[in-house]
């Protein structure tokens, strides 16, 4: 278990104020769109120990979660940090090319309809 988990677990509540985690920044850097259902993924393998030292514990935790592609909302819920903070931290990682926002499916009209019909079938099968 990484050592920081002992200090920042969910039950402990916010030991550090959220804005401190972002260095006071409230706006994500860059122009990547981080919608709540944007799918993000790490661009490389998990960090080595030496590489990890260059990142804050929160950045490292996010990077680890992004090894599996997931939505911003899922990642934010996993890391239990406020959405605004998570967006700022994710944007840092995008800037450093550590993670990437996966492109949305090509908006071909027919594909959209087909996907929606699949959603409908999925719902009916619930």
């Amino acid at each position: 278990m990484p050592e920081y988990d002992r200090w920042l677990d969910r039950e402990a509540g916010p030991v550090v104020r959220p804005y401190a985690l972002t260095g006071g920044r409230t706006d994500p850097v860059g122009d990547a769109v981080l919608d709540v259902i944007s799918v993000i993924a790490a661009t490389g393998p998990p960090l080595t120990r030496a590489e990890a030292a260059k990142f804050s514990p929160e950045h490292r935790k996010l990077l680890r979660l992004c090894q599996q592609p997931g939505t911003v909302a899922d990642v934010a819920a996993d890391v239990a940090l406020p959405l605004g903070v998570v967006r700022v931290l994710l944007a840092d990682l995008i800037q450093q090319k550590m993670i990437t926002v996966l492109p949305r499916r090509a908006p071909r009209p027919q594909a959209s309809t087909d996907l929606l019909k699949e959603v409908l079938d999925g719902l009916r099968a619930l």
Partner: protein
Amino acid sequence: MGSVPSDGPPEDNQFTPFKILVAGGFGVGKTTLVSTISEIRPLRTEEALTQKSIGVDDLSGVGDKTTTTVAMDFGRITMGTRLALYLFGTPGQDRFWFMWDDLSYGALGAVILADTRRLIDCFPSVDYFERRQLPFVVAVNVFDGAPHYDAEDVRIALDLEPTVPTMLCDARQRSSVKQVLVTLVEHVLASAPGGGQGALRDPGAVGQASLPAAPAYPAAPPWPPAAAGSYASMGSAK
């Protein structure tokens, strides 16, 4: 792990999430509805951090302010390996309007939950989604002891377009919630003959370049609308 996607077009098996908003007045059963049909997870939002664009220089002011962490719930319905439906309960209180633009961005559509005892609580949501041209359905959550009306009465009371589906539902019943979502997706499909791009409200369809740099927290949310006088007085004044 070599699972890095290239910049090429998305593959057919790419994971595609869809987003549906669940709106309605405070205490109308939004969280109940989401948790009935999906595994619910809390999403924290930091009100003070997100309420306005606070410059770095203003940090001292932020330090003095009590930051409130607001939990917002969302649920996920996973369909196979590549499709998932995300349900976001929109915060009911009007001081959270700034989050609506963020949440409605790229959304498939919305469910407006209504309580016949407080039907007026729906107006802001109806107004918002009509303005955004986001397809929505109105589902009347049937509470014990609440006056019973037909879905059609509710349509008239809310002055809804004839095309907007209205129905009664029980947010605690899985089959009922399922029917609400099915109706919404059918409505989305129907309101976009030929499956136009607009129906999906897919940001990709618009092109990311056309988005504001910070779509999340518009500095001047267009809410509350001037028309909703009674609603605006609910709690925004300090």
